[in-house]
């Protein structure tokens, strides 16, 4: 079965806006493939290249070299995005619309017929638990509700691939739990999900596979259980080792003790 996401030797460079910084390499030779029905967690510190990789997959920016495809179609073709849903990090949707109107707007872009649109709106609003607020304008929503409205828009076309950029960022624990539950349900439905996160526990719970990106390079890649077995420690420690904040988990943490106490 061909992979849903295929990235081969991807390099992304951009001209820095900072004076004298010249060209910066955000992604350096990334190769990755995600199969159907997999939930893939993209990990890495800020500036590691996660969002840049997603931007390439979504066609927002062209690769400097290498290639990326979705469902076997080059990401530069708009048709490659017909079967995907995307949730960006912290988006402020059209506040003058209700969620129902927002979903109808996105459904029209996908040319979904009217009866199918109404059916789909009911389904996704039920999934994200916004049925009671469907006729309220988005400007009245809490941050968590806005994020769930965002998830609803990402799901309106019943996508086969979901790309979620830090979907739980800025949410309270209840909001995070709800979003996590939704991802879990999508996984159960057999959707392919690619998501980036800083929440390692969340990744460990939900993902089949993880990739740890650091300075644009894929440092680790594989099943969570395999990585844990390979390194003999938990995911957080593996992550810290990879990004260069390694502390031997077996040895006591070094703490500077004041002289008076030491004596």
């Amino acid at each position: 079965m061909p992979p849903i996401v295929q990235i081969d030797d991807l390099v992304v460079e951009y001209v820095s806006k900072e004076r004298g910084e010249g060209v910066k390499r955000a992604v350096n030779g990334l190769s990755l493939s995600i199969g159907e029905g997999e939930v893939f967690g993209f990990l890495g510190p800020n500036g590691a290249g996660k969002t840049t990789t997603m931007k390439v997959l979504l066609g927002f920016m062209p690769p400097t070299s290498g290639s990326a495809s979705l469902f076997g179609t080059d990401v530069r073709q708009p048709i490659a995005r017909q079967r995907i849903g995307y949730l960006p990090e912290l988006t402020y949707y059209y506040k003058f619309l209700t969620t129902e109107e927002l979903l109808r707007f996105y459904a029209r872009i996908f040319k979904i017929p009217r009866p199918e649109t109404e059916k789909r709106i009911n389904e996704v609003l039920k999934l994200v638990e916004l049925e009671d607020a469907r006729k309220k304008q988005i400007k009245t929503y809490s941050k968590g509700m806005q994020q769930r409205a965002g998830l609803a828009q990402a799901l309106i076309n019943n996508p086969d691939l979901l790309i979620l950029d830090e979907p739980t960022s800025g949410l309270d624990p209840i909001g995070r739990m709800k979003v996590r539950e939704i991802i879990q349900r999508l996984k159960d439905e057999g959707k392919t999900v690619l998501f980036s996160s800083h929440e390692l526990g969340e990744v460990e719970t939900v993902c089949d596979q993880v990739g740890i990106l650091h300075r644009g390079e894929l440092k680790e890649h594989g099943r969570v259980a395999d990585l844990v077995a390979k390194h003999g420690t938990h995911l957080e420690q593996i992550f810290l080792n990879v990004v260069g904040f390694a502390k031997d988990s077996e040895s006591p943490t070094e703490v500077e003790i004041p002289k008076e106490e030491a004596s």
């Binding site: 969002t51 708009p78 995307y86 960006p88 988006t91 402020y92 619309l97 707007f105 029209r108 872009i109």
Partner: protein
């Protein structure tokens, strides 16, 4: 080109217009001033109706220009700032679709606004003046709308060039004032200049859009008969050329713009 997406974006712009307060504020302001002037009887002077019409039409022109420029100026910058452009472009939508959708939406929104203003103005005029030339009114409205089409395209292009919405709106409004007030006389000014200023001014005279071509207010004010349809069609073609030029420039700019 995704026509469905273009239409969806256009309807979104129209919906935004009637859910915001800008249009209502300008309409009420224009209505209050028009009705105040209409209620005054200046020494039983019959020709005062002409002045009333002139003032009201000037107000409608100013209000419509303000609505067109302010609506168009914030469309794309707002999408980028709120990041709604990201889920939009993550769908099978090109950047050209976005520019065209925004343009069409602004054009429709301004068309509806103009219709409301002109119907209200026609009702007030009918109460003061028995002569009503429907074709002249239609031509004046059509030309007014064509002029706004150029302004909308110009503002959309400006919104991708200038960093702030306010600076773009100010520059477009000042340029519109210059074009409507000074450009028509620029060829006479050029004649009095020596080279190379003469060539520069002539180039500006022929290259900049002559928005005054679309000002048919006199037809309504003086109850003139309608203009022939050929000049109207030529003017519409002239408006289309400038609109297309600014839209192509906007599409090129948007394609080159880094998003996110």
């Amino acid at each position: 080109m995704n026509c469905s997406a273009i239409w969806a974006m256009a309807t979104l712009v129209v919906r935004e217009l009637y859910r915001r307060k800008d249009f209502y504020v300008l309409f009420i302001l224009t209505a209050v001033i028009t009705l105040s002037f209409g209620a005054v009887n200046f020494f039983n002077e019959g020709s005062i109706v002409r002045y009333l019409k002139e003032i009201c039409l000037a107000l409608i022109w100013l209000s419509s220009i303000a609505i067109a420029v302010m609506t168009a100026a914030r469309q794309i910058p707002d999408e980028i700032e709120r990041k709604t452009v990201l889920p939009l472009l993550a769908k099978p939508v090109t950047r050209t679709d976005v520019v065209l959708g925004k343009y069409l939406g602004c054009l429709l929104a301004c068309g509806i606004t103009l219709l409301v203003f002109y119907v209200f103005f026609a009702a007030v005029s009918a109460s003061k003046d028995s002569t009503f030339q429907l074709v002249s009114w239609f031509q004046a409205l059509l030309m007014h709308w064509a002029m706004l089409s150029i302004l909308i395209a110009m503002t959309l292009f400006g919104s991708l060039v200038f960093a702030a919405v306010s600076s773009n709106a100010t520059i477009v409004l000042l340029s519109t004032g210059f074009i409507l007030g000074i450009l028509r006389h620029l060829n006479k000014v050029a004649l009095m200049q020596s080279e190379p200023m003469q060539t520069i001014l002539y180039a500006a005279y022929f290259c900049l859009p002559h928005l005054e071509f679309f000002d048919l207010r006199d037809l309504i004010v003086h109850s003139h008969p309608a203009v022939g349809w050929w000049p109207i069609l030529m003017a519409l073609f002239y408006a289309d050329c400038f609109t297309a030029f600014f839209l192509v420039a906007a599409c090129v700019m948007f394609k080159r713009k880094a998003i996110g």
